[in-house]
Every structure is written in structure tokens, then in C-alpha cells.
């Protein structure tokens, strides 16, 4: 497969970036998108050029490290996959592929295709936890009965890997889907009730402080989320927030 790649190159956070065009040949359909970039980087290194920098870690869709806006969509044209799970068979010989970093004021570019997503970490730190006594007398979580439906919804919310595709897809660069997933996974469980009020208030406050946009219910985040996190979580977070603010 022969491809034309248009890739965002930016030396560092302060440098002015630009799109650069590369030609690449010999790409197999069974390769992952990141393996295709590995091939490109080998060629660039052999030519003495600076390789394209991009985030990656587990390469099996669970760590949330890989990102990339591919032909205008986060994680590319496939659904329910991360960039590392995207296969080159989704593209055709002769295609031009535009590869950009996730764009959001709260996700500044570090270099090339790598963005700083620590804003998500700070939202988590603001309330994405529960208080459990871990000094040796911890009660087994399974000893507390949980409604099956709530347990499933909580688990589904907890599958969010924090990749940032929701922000990248949203026309407003809103982080509501991510924040709502992190709020929901605890809001649905008895263990999460102790800090319920502070959690949603603090996480939403931090989300706003980071400079993410406002949700306008376009639903793009849900469609592009590699883990299928549902918009129901945003409705739940809105309820939690209204309930928390009414309690003062």
C-alpha cells in the first residue's frame, strides 16, 4: 500500500508547527496505524531526519496513551478502537492521510503529535477517588450488595481510559464525557456516596478551570469514544451536580 501522509510537525511547545507531507510505500493492511508510523520513522532515521513523535504504550487499547486526529476523527475512521488498534486495511492504496495532534487549549502540544493531557489527571485528583481504610481491616467490596444494573453501569463508566478522544471530537473541546464517566463510576456505588457532593463539585470546578469548553449535546464524544462511554453519564453528572449545589 502506497500512502501520502500529511503530518503535523512541531519542534517543541513554543515552536510554530506546520503540516509536512511524506510518501510511504510497502504498508500492509494487517499493520496497525502506529506500526505504519514506526515504518515511517525508521525511514526518517535512516535518512538522518528527526522521527515523528507520538504517544503510545500498551498498543492493545487499554492504556489511553495513543491519540492522533486521523482524517478529521480522533483514533481514525473505525469505531470503538484506539489508534493502536486501527488497522491499515481501513485505508486504500493511494490514500492521503491527515494526522494531527488532539486539539484543545487544555491539551497543549508538547511536540509533533504529543499533547499534554495532564489536565485529565488534575480533574481526577480533584475528586476521582473514594476513602477506604487500607490499614489492614479493609472490608471486601463484594460484601456490600450492589444492584446489578448499577454495577454494570458503574463498570462501563470505569472503562474510560482517559485518552481524550471525547475532547478532540467535540466541536467545543468539552471534557464532559470524561469527567462524567469518572463521576458516574463512583456515584453509582455505595462506596462512592461519602464524597458524592464534594466529588462532582470539585471535578466540575477543575474541569472548568482547565479551560475545556461547554457541552452542547452534539453527541460526537460518544460516537468517537473508543470505549463506548455513553452520554447517559453526562446526564447523570448533571443530576449529581444539581443535587450537590442544591445541598450547598
Amino acid at each position: 500500500m502506497k500512502l501520502t501522509l500529511k503530518i503535523w510537525r512541531q519542534e517543541n511547545a513554543k515552536a510554530k508547527g506546520a503540516m509536512k507531507t511524506y510518501q510511504i510505500d510497502g504498508i500492509e493492511g494487517d499493520m496497525s496505524f502506529l506500526e505504519m508510523l514506526d515504518v515511517l520513522n525508521e525511514e526518517l532515521i535512516n535518512k538522518g531526519e528527526v522521527p515523528v513523535e507520538f504517544d503510545h504504550d500498551c498498543r492493545e487499547g487499554i492504556c489511553g496513551s495513543c491519540s492522533l486526529q486521523i482524517n478529521g476523527e480522533p483514533h481514525g475512521p473505525d469505531r470503538l478502537v484506539t489508534t493502536c488498534q486501527l488497522h491499515m486495511r481501513k485505508f486504500n492504496d493511494g490514500d492521503t492521510i491527515v494526522i494531527e495532534p488532539f486539539r484543545a487549549t487544555a491539551f497543549p502540544v508538547v511536540t509533533d503529535l504529543i499533547v499534554d493531557r495532564t489536565a485529565f489527571d488534575r480533574i481526577q485528583h480533584a475528586g476521582g477517588y473514594i476513602s477506604v481504610n487500607t490499614s489492614g481491616n479493609t472490608i471486601d467490596a463484594n460484601s456490600i450488595p450492589v444492584n446489578k444494573h448499577d454495577a454494570d453501569d458503574s463498570f462501563n463508566a470505569a472503562t474510560c481510559i482517559g485518552c481524550g478522544a471525547c475532547v478532540a471530537a467535540c466541536k467545543n473541546a468539552s471534557a464532559m464525557l470524561f469527567t462524567s464517566a469518572k463521576v458516574s463510576q463512583y456515584a453509582l456505588l455505595p462506596q462512592g456516596q461519602v464524597e458524592a457532593v464534594e466529588r462532582v463539585e470539585n471535578m466540575v470546578r477543575q474541569m472548568d478551570l482547565e479551560g475545556f469548553g461547554n457541552c452542547t449535546n452534539t453527541g460526537a464524544c460518544e460516537i468517537e469514544c473508543p470505549k463506548g462511554i455513553s452520554l447517559e453519564n453526562i446526564a447523570r453528572m448533571n443530576r449529581e451536580y444539581l443535587s450537590a449545589t442544591s445541598k450547598g
Binding site: 500529511k6 503535523w8 503540516m19 486526529q69 482524517n71 478529521g72 476523527e73 475512521p77 491527515v98 494531527e100 486539539r103 484543545a104 487549549t105 487544555a106 471530537a169 466541536k171 467545543n172 473541546a173 468539552s174 464532559m176 466540575v204 470546578r205 474541569m207 472548568d208 479551560g211 475545556f212 469548553g213 461547554n214 457541552c215 452542547t216 449535546n217 452534539t218 453527541g219 460526537a220 460516537i223 468517537e224 452520554l231 447517559e232 453526562i234 446526564a235 447523570r236 453528572m237 448533571n238 443530576r239 451536580y241 444539581l242 449545589t245
Partner: protein, 218 residues
């Protein structure tokens, strides 16, 4: 102002003001529809709305506040949302994951705002001048004639029809999504959202029918 300073509070405020305006729209449509089959009924309703103290002194200011709040908040949100992505994508495929109407609420909203300017110029300002500035005596039979006279002009009728199309687009996303904004997402939500989508088409289509009816029948 504490609650309105958060993104969720702004979202809920937009939804509630929008829902209020949707309710008003239904009431406005119901009264206007009577003009197509009973000029007397239309005159009676209009006279009541135009002279009732509760409507004039309380509901009307609340409505005007609701309209102003909704569009001012809409502009504030648009500015904030644009600043949340200061560097645009070279390639952004919004059509792959969201509807055109949901991504362009600001533009359909601006058209509706411009229409409100025309609508106030046509009906509200003359009405206020007639009653409160010129101090004319109450006339319960004048409303139907004033309505019909406005729709003689093909340009005005065309502008109204065009505006109602944009109103339908705005409502098609806005009405249904307001339930999501206020956190209403349970087993009844699907049916309610379907009703909202039907309402978003039927009410503006009804307004178009009324405008064309008076244009072609008089």
C-alpha cells in the same frame, strides 16, 4: 452568580430558558392558528393577551427576559467554546459523528434573532406604540386585519417562511437535547425526545402554513 459560573449551570440555564421559549411558542402557535378558521376567535384571544394585566405586566417582561437571556448566554457559550480550541484542525470531520444542526446552533440562533427583530418591528413595536404611546382606545376587532395586512408582501412572507425553517432546525436539536442538559435520561427520555423532534417540525411547519395561508387568501 456562583452556580451560573459553572459549565453545567450554564448548560442547565440554556436548557430551561429554551424550554420556556418552546412553551411560549406552542401558545403563540395555538392563538395564531385560530386566525386561519375564525377571525373572531383570533381577535378575542389577541385582545385578551394584549389587555390582560397579568399577561402584559408579568408574563411579557418574563418572556422578553427569557429571550434576551437565551441569546446572550448562547453568545457567551459560543465565545467560551471557541476559546477552548484556539488552534483549529486542518481536517475536522464533524459530519462523521454529529448532525449539522447540532454543530450550528449559533447560526440558526442568529437567523432566529434577526427574525425576532423583524417580528418586533412588524407587530410588537406598533402594538406598544398604539396602546401605551399614542394612548388609543382599546379595539377588540383590529388584530385580524393587522395580521392579514402584514402578509400581503411576498418578501415579508418569504422571510417569515425562511425564518421558520431555521426555527425548525434550531428546535430539532435544542428541544430534545434540553432534557439531556437537565439530567433527564431515563426510560421515558426516548419517547420525550421523539415528541420534541416532532414538535420541532410540526410547530414551525404550522407557522409556515399560517403565513402562506394569509398571503394567498387575501
Amino acid at each position: 452568580m456562583g452556580i451560573i459560573s459553572s459549565s453545567i449551570a450554564r448548560k442547565v440555564a440554556m436548557a430551561l430558558s429554551g424550554l420556556f421559549l418552546v412553551l411560549f411558542l406552542g401558545q403563540h402557535f395555538t392563538i395564531n392558528l385560530t386566525s386561519t378558521f375564525s377571525p373572531e376567535t383570533f381577535n378575542e384571544f389577541s385582545h385578551f393577551m394584549g389587555t390582560n394585566f397579568l399577561v402584559q405586566a408579568i408574563l411579557q417582561p418574563v418572556l422578553i427576559f427569557g429571550v434576551i437571556f437565551h441569546f446572550v448566554m448562547g453568545f457567551i457559550l459560543e465565545i467560551r467554546n471557541r476559546s477552548a480550541r484556539q488552534i483549529s484542525y486542518v481536517s475536522y470531520k464533524g459530519s462523521a459523528n454529529s448532525s449539522w444542526v447540532s454543530r450550528n446552533m449559533i447560526y440558526s440562533g442568529i437567523v432566529i434573532l434577526a427574525f425576532l427583530g423583524l417580528h418586533f418591528y412588524d407587530f410588537w413595536f406598533p402594538e406598544i406604540a398604539y396602546k401605551y404611546i399614542e394612548g388609543n382606545p382599546a379595539d377588540a376587532t383590529r388584530y385580524y386585519g393587522e395580521l392579514v395586512e402584514k402578509f400581503h408582501s411576498p418578501v415579508r412572507t418569504g422571510l417569515y417562511v425562511l425564518s421558520f425553517i431555521f426555527l425548525a432546525l434550531h428546535l430539532y436539536h435544542g428541544f430534545a437535547s434540553s432534557f439531556q442538559s437537565v439530567g433527564f435520561n431515563n426510560k421515558y427520555a426516548t419517547a420525550l425526545k421523539k415528541f420534541a423532534k416532532v414538535y420541532a417540525i410540526v410547530i414551525p411547519a404550522g407557522f409556515i402554513f399560517i403565513a402562506l395561508f394569509h398571503h394567498f387568501n387575501h
